[in-house]
Amino acid sequence: MKIMMQIAIIFLLCFVGELIAAILPFPFPASVISMILVFCFLLWGPLKVYHIKKQTDFLLDNMAFFFIPPAVSIIENLHYMEGKLLILIFICTVSIFTTFAITAWTVTAMIKLEEKRKERKHHASA
């Protein structure tokens, strides 16, 4: 599909996302609603990956680029972190370890649980 239409589709879904976010009675990131919309439309079929491929490839391949302007604003917010930098780094680092360990252990436990269930089913059918 023409790149112009691809941009229009994605921008339209972003607009609808903002519309839904404005109607919702609680705060919810509009961009995440747009992500859910794209996913649902792909799942239900009206939207095919090739309809939006050029546009989404461009966005995904250059994802980090779009965060440059908000990230640059960090120099205007440095005073919030004054004297707390080490604490912030400590908190972030500790939570990397705990998040990884808890997630990976949970996944491992779930895989074992499923294997056991399958085994039991296997025994029952035998």
């Binding site: 994605i10 972003c14 996302g17 903002e18 705060p27 919810f28 990131p29 509009a30 961009s31 995440v32 747009s34 992500m35 859910i36 794209v38 996913f39 792909l42 799942l43 990956v49 546009q55 966005l59 995904l60 994802m63 980090a64 680029f65 779009f66 965060f67 440059i68 302007p69 908000p70 990230a71 640059v72 120099i75 205007e76 917010n77 919030y80 972190m81 707390k84 604490i87 912030l88 908190i91 972030c92 680092t93 500790v94 939570s95 990397i96 370890f97 705990t98 998040t99 990884f100 360990a101 808890i102 997630t103 990976a104 252990w105 949970t106 996944v107 491992t108 779930m110 895989i111 499923e114």
Partner: protein, 232 residues
């Protein structure tokens, strides 16, 4: 001289500076090939240096920044495509991935919240750190929603991504994670897209898992944020 200063308020200036700084960041990243040479980090350092050296006001740069910001929501929406493409892998391991990312994204926020309280950080800083494990576009939305400072939130996200991807192989050994699915989901949940590039280097299955986990963890973090919004 004054007229020359005004010129920097043209949106073209910020857009071109951003593109050039990012391309330089990509080039350095290819050369050094280490997570610390993160293209976004390099681009930000270059732009901040240029603005400081030439005394260009932040507002002038952000005239161009606003144009780039227009693509933030579309970039987030585009994240749905890789998840959809990997749907079969997700379906084959539905329960472990879902439970892992639901529990993992809660654990990430709970630990950050607990430590922030322990160190008596104020609500604004706490809100800025809570979503640091998820991908930047989603973290931005959550940080805004919780009343945090978006640039600090992004800095925490970048730091977590870089650190997570550097120590990922070490953590795999430390916690004895042998299953490639568990490795991938763990890396994607704790260090989003930057970690995912490392997971891809560790193996195809780990990479796919990390990519799926990163999207789902972001999705679930949005919902956990409701809980932490009450606690803040």
């Amino acid at each position: 001289m004054q007229a020359l200063k005004e010129v920097f308020y043209s949106p073209y200036f910020g857009v071109v500076l951003s593109i050039l700084a990012y391309q330089l960041g990509l080039a350095i990243n290819r050369k050094i090939n280490h997570p610390i040479a993160n293209p976004l980090l390099i681009a930000v350092i270059i732009i901040v240096a240029v603005l400081q050296i030439f005394h260009i006001p932040m507002e002038a740069f952000q005239e161009g920044g606003n144009i780039i910001n227009l693509f933030l929501a579309p970039a987030t929406a585009a994240l749905a495509v890789p998840i959809y493409k990997n749907l079969q892998i997700l379906k084959n391991n539905l329960l472990p991935i879902l439970v892992g990312t639901v529990v993992g994204s809660f654990a990430s926020m709970a630990v950050v919240f607990g430590l922030c309280k322990l160190f008596e950080l104020d609500t604004v800083l706490t809100a800025s750190l809570l979503s640091k494990s998820v991908t930047t576009p989603i973290a931005m939305g959550i940080t805004q929603q919780l009343g945090g400072i978006v640039p600090i939130g992004i800095a925490a996200v970048i730091f977590t991504g870089i650190t997570g991807s550097i120590i990922a192989p070490f953590m795999v050994k430390l916690f004895h994670i042998n299953d490639p699915i568990a490795q991938g989901v763990g890396i994607g949940t704790c260090s989003h897209a930057v970690g995912t590039t490392r997971a891809i280097a560790m193996g195809e299955l780990q990479g796919a898992m990390s990519g799926i986990a990163m999207g789902l963890a972001g999705f679930f973090t949005v919902f956990w944020a409701f809980l932490f919004a009450i606690l803040l």
